[in-house]
């Protein structure tokens, strides 16, 4: 078992990285470790456990800003925000159950390091879009800060962006500041039933291109529909969420239902069913069951209106559903140790986008490219960026790609 270093404050994080540097040790950077099984298997000597850095240090609801130490549980932040009728607008999804862990774990630092998002990604963005400021310890054992506690800021490079989604390979974040937003007063969902994937992508494009301000759009094909909550039956469902003040939701529901009528049978979900449905979409519920967890899981980001083309090029034995109006496809492959990376990547290449193998055994992850391979010039630039932060490879080395 590797050792664990558990710093109590930011200074101790810097000390730990400096120690690792001088002793040629590699650190696994972790919060609660809920996403530990994502990426190439760890090649580290010691875990740098940041879950001791906790506490919300600033919360100004009227200024839409919250600062917390990076190891603060996401659940604590969401609870506090809820008390003030606010939320993280990007709806971070929870990888816990998908990877065989508990639901509701995870730290704010982990949310940002993995650039999490949920169904509202298409309207409100991902963690990257809400990440305002950071203090972090680079692989050079330098404590750096970037950004600030104000929403609008272009002072210096936007280092927050490159840290979001860097999976702990550039720096260990110690303090983060995020933008928070009011929770919508109510919501409803317009369902179109029985569409095939191509027709569903067209319906979602029409809905997103309307002035109805759709805040989430998912297509749940019939082979997985029964796993989701809040649906009236097990038919294929194309779901369109509307959020806002009650008079507005009511009006848009009518307009959108009329707009969707030519596509198929329209049904409406009230607030309670709608919340239940989108919670299960956000948590990728069909693929979190014990039986399903044997299946390798892919997460594909592509051009939304062409999501069905990518899906059509994947083996029909796979299970899948679409979020982000067709731009996000979750694909559970049929056989335990065969992620079939080559065919998935080929399917994505025909349309454009990227595929990440978010669930597979360690041996599979050691041999397949977990993250989308990059063109040589881009891969070389990514490597130079890694070296700018962490030239000796002490932070999560090799997690995203060899040498990165």
């Amino acid at each position: 078992m590797p050792d664990i270093l558990k710093p109590r404050d930011a200074k101790e994080v810097e000390d730990a990285v400096r120690w690792a540097l001088s002793h040629d040790k590699a650190l696994e950077v972790a919060g609660h470790g809920t996403k530990r099984a994502i990426g190439r298997p760890s090649q580290t000597d010691i875990t740098l456990d940041l879950s001791g850095l906790t506490g919300i240090t600033l919360y100004e609801p009227a200024e839409l800003v919250l600062s917390a130490r990076a190891g603060t549980p996401l659940a604590d932040i969401e609870t506090l925000l809820e008390k003030n009728n606010q939320e993280l607008a990007f709806e971070p999804m929870d990888y816990g159950p998908l990877l065989g862990g508990e639901a509701g774990q995870g730290t704010i630092g982990g949310v940002i390091a993995a650039n999490l998002a949920g169904p509202r990604r298409i309207k409100a963005g991902a963690a990257r879009d809400h990440f305002l400021g950071v203090t972090a310890v680079t692989g050079r054992a330098d404590t750096i800060k970037s950004g600030g506690r104000v929403v609008k800021n272009v002072t210096g490079y936007d280092m927050c962006k490159v840290l979001a989604g860097s999976w702990g390979t550039l720096a260990a974040m110690t303090d983060v500041t995020i933008k928070v937003l009011p929770r919508a007063e109510t919501q409803a969902t317009v369902l179109v039933e029985g569409l095939d994937d191509a027709r569903a992508c067209a319906a979602m494009a029409a809905a997103m291109g309307s002035s109805c301000d759709v805040s989430a759009a998912a297509h749940l094909p019939d082979h997985v529909a029964s796993y989701f909550d809040g649906l009236p039956n097990a038919e294929a469902a194309t779901a369109l969420r509307l959020e806002g003040v009650a008079p507005s939701v009511k009006h848009r529901k009518e307009v959108l239902a009329a707009l969707m009528k030519p596509f198929g049978k329209v049904a409406l979900l009230d607030e309670k069913e709608s919340r239940a449905l989108w919670r299960s979409v956000r948590q990728v519920k069909p693929f979190a069951s014990e039986a399903s967890r044997q299946r390798p899981l892919w997460r594909i980001s592509t051009a939304p209106a062409r999501g069905h083309e990518v899906a059509a090029a994947i083996t029909p034995a796979a299970q899948m559903f679409y979020d982000w109006a067709g731009g996000l496809i979750w694909v559970a492959m049929p056989y335990g140790d065969e992620p079939d990376a080559a065919s998935i990547r080929e399917a994505v290449a025909s349309v454009g986008g990227h595929a990440t193998l978010v669930r597979a055994s360690a041996s599979v992850r050691a041999s397949a490219d977990v993250f989308q391979p990059q063109e040589p010039a881009l891969a070389a630039l990514s490597k130079r960026v890694k070296d700018a932060f962490d030239p000796k490879g002490v932070l999560n080395p090799g997690r995203m790609a060899a040498g990165v």
């Binding site: 050792d3 710093p7 109590r8 000390d15 400096r18 120690w19 540097l21 002793h23 001791g52 100004e60 009227a62 200024e63 839409l64 009728n85 650039n115 998002a117 298409i122 963005g125 991902a126 879009d129 680079t138 750096i144 800060k145 600030g148 506690r149 104000v150 609008k152 272009v154 002072t155 210096g156 490079y157 936007d158 280092m159 962006k161 490159v162 979001a164 860097s166 009011p182 007063e185 494009a205 291109g209 309307s210 002035s211 301000d213 009006h251 980001s301 939304p304 209106a305 986008g353 990227h354 989308q372 990059q374 063109e375 010039a377 881009l378 130079r384 960026v385 070296d387 700018a388 030239p391």
Partner: protein
């Protein structure tokens, strides 16, 4: 010019004729401009206080030409300054005496509009407004709307991460760009992103956005387009003090309302604007708010009523709701003309761009009043109230001895105050040369060195737009060295399991 730029390389200056000749082989015809007279229009950008004739101006038309120009300059050790429309307010496109000015104006085509995927693929020289105009027939628009949108280009918007009055609700450029084609200083051409969301690896697109032309030259941009809201109305609210106006902004947000736009003006700005535009602004108030709500009519009516009630509770003295589209545009016409309106009442002005936590507004305004008296210079304020972005306009006369320096010092003092209250030096105009030497007010040497190492990853020779953003330039080899000290450590100080 009172800002010090990197020392010109005399060897490059001596080779000028050969450099011009070599560039003409890459970009033929009128694409290379080398006479003093023809280079004149390029000697400054929107920050006209600083001027410099470039070594030569090159106006490429293709990505291949950009790549070859950069590769040539990289090989020869020649600096390059990229330029869009030249509307930067921070001197981001200020030329260098020994540098090639790379004008991207000929990249002016809209390459693809894809309504199904809600994106447009445009060249960087396309103006911000042209993108919205190109998709308007289908009810779409491009959300970021900097005040200079009629002239400024998408390439420049990416370089500066431009905002606008609607960015509280709809985001800045970085939230509305999905992909780009990027040419590195060594001539390599890369594609980042596309029609899909998020990066497969590091978010380099997010890093490029707002990098002020120091990391690469963008030759194509994929932007998100949005369907226009069904309707929009604005409320004009006057207050007896800026504290009341600030409290009203907080109360609106605390009520869960994110307006499409929320702008504040102080008394000097209100008066300058009203004389110029006659927008019907009340003249007997200390602060004026414009709050715009957009969405379906039912939603806008509902929210307007709530905003009116909140304004009343916040001691507003006047409150007018636009009754027509013309009236809404008139409310905005005043705000949008604030800079030229101030230009009418003063021979010159500096526009500052700090962002502050909104709660600090009364303190910042009070201290600014004191500074104004001390420097003997007037100041007017316009404020993106929703996101705390403050634009103090410092009025001065460059023909009066020493007044430019006085105005510069006044501006620097305001920005230091912004940082002191928890804010930042620039919310949307960029650092450029203007705020370059103030960067240490906000960042330590360690912070700035970390940023410069990122620069080295993209441009190891430091040839792309040097002299902007960073007050002290280091060689990449020097920055790359590791100095590991101590390393005794964490045992037993850190809990270990």
């Amino acid at each position: 010019m009172s800002v010090r730029m990197p020392e010109a390389d005399s060897a490059v200056l001596a080779r000028r004729a050969a450099i011009v000749k070599a560039l003409r082989t890459i970009v033929p015809g009128e694409g290379v401009i080398a006479t003093e007279r023809e280079m004149k229009p390029f000697e400054s950008d929107g920050l006209t206080a600083y001027r410099q004739t470039p070594l030569v101006v090159v106006l490429p038309e293709t990505t291949r030409q950009v790549s070859e120009v950069l590769a040539y300059c990289h090989g020869e050790g020649i600096k390059v300054v990229p330029r869009g429309a030249g509307t930067s307010l921070s001197g981001g496109a200020l030329p260098l005496e020994d540098g090639v000015l790379l004008g991207m104006a000929k990249f002016n085509r809209i390459k693809e509009i894809d309504f199904d995927n809600r994106i447009a693929v445009v060249e960087p020289g396309v103006t911000n407004l042209a993108v919205s105009n190109a998709v308007a027939h289908a009810g779409f628009y491009y959300a970021p709307d900097p005040s200079s949108q009629i002239a400024c280009t998408i390439g420049g918007n990416v370089a500066e991460n431009s905002g606008g009055v609607h960015c509280l609700k709809y985001g800045m450029t970085t939230n509305n760009v999905l992909g780009c084609e990027l040419v590195l200083m060594n001539g390599e051409v890369l594609r980042l992103g596309g029609k899909h969301l998020d990066a497969e690896g590091y978010d380099l697109l997010g890093l490029i956005t707002g990098s002020e032309g120091l990391l690469g030259v963008v030759t194509e941009v994929t932007v998100r387009i949005l369907q226009k809201a069904e309707s929009a109305r604005a409320v004009l609210v006057g207050f007896p003090s800026s504290e009341d106006a600030g409290a009203c902004v907080s109360a609106i947000i605390a009520a869960g309302i994110i307006p499409g736009g929320m702008e504040m003006m102080d008394k000097p700005a209100i008066h300058a604007v009203e004389e110029f535009v006659h927008a019907g602004y009340p003249l007997d108030v200390e602060a004026l708010l414009i709050v715009e709500l957009d969405g379906p009519v039912a939603e806008v009516d509902h929210l307007i009523a709530r905003v009116e009630a909140i304004a009343k509770a916040c001691r507003s003295t006047t409150c007018r709701v636009s009754q027509s589209e013309d009236e809404r545009l008139l409310f905005w016409a005043g705000r949008k003309a604030a800079f030229p309106a101030v230009g009418r009442i003063s021979p010159d002005y500096f526009c500052m761009d700090g962002t502050i936590p909104r709660a600090a507004l009364p303190r910042v305004l009070a201290e600014m009043k004191e500074m104004s008296a001390r420097y003997g210079l007037r100041v007017a304020n316009v404020f993106h109230a929703g996101d705390g972005n403050l634009h103090p306009l410092i009025l001065y006369d460059s023909n009066k001895d020493g007044e430019v320096e006085k105005a510069e010092n006044f501006g620097a003092e305001i920005l230091k105050l912004c940082v002191a209250v928890g804010g930042v030096l620039t919310g949307e105009h960029g650092v450029g040369v203007e705020k370059r030497d103030l960067m240490p007010v906000m960042f330590s040497e360690i912070d700035l060195n970390a940023q410069q190492r990122v620069k080295c990853a993209f441009d190891e020779k430091g040839l792309l737009n040097p002299g902007k953003v960073f007050p002290v330039l280091h060689r990449c080899a020097e920055l790359g060295r590791m100095h590991i000290s101590g390393g005794k450590l964490p045992f037993p100080d850190i809990p270990r399991f």
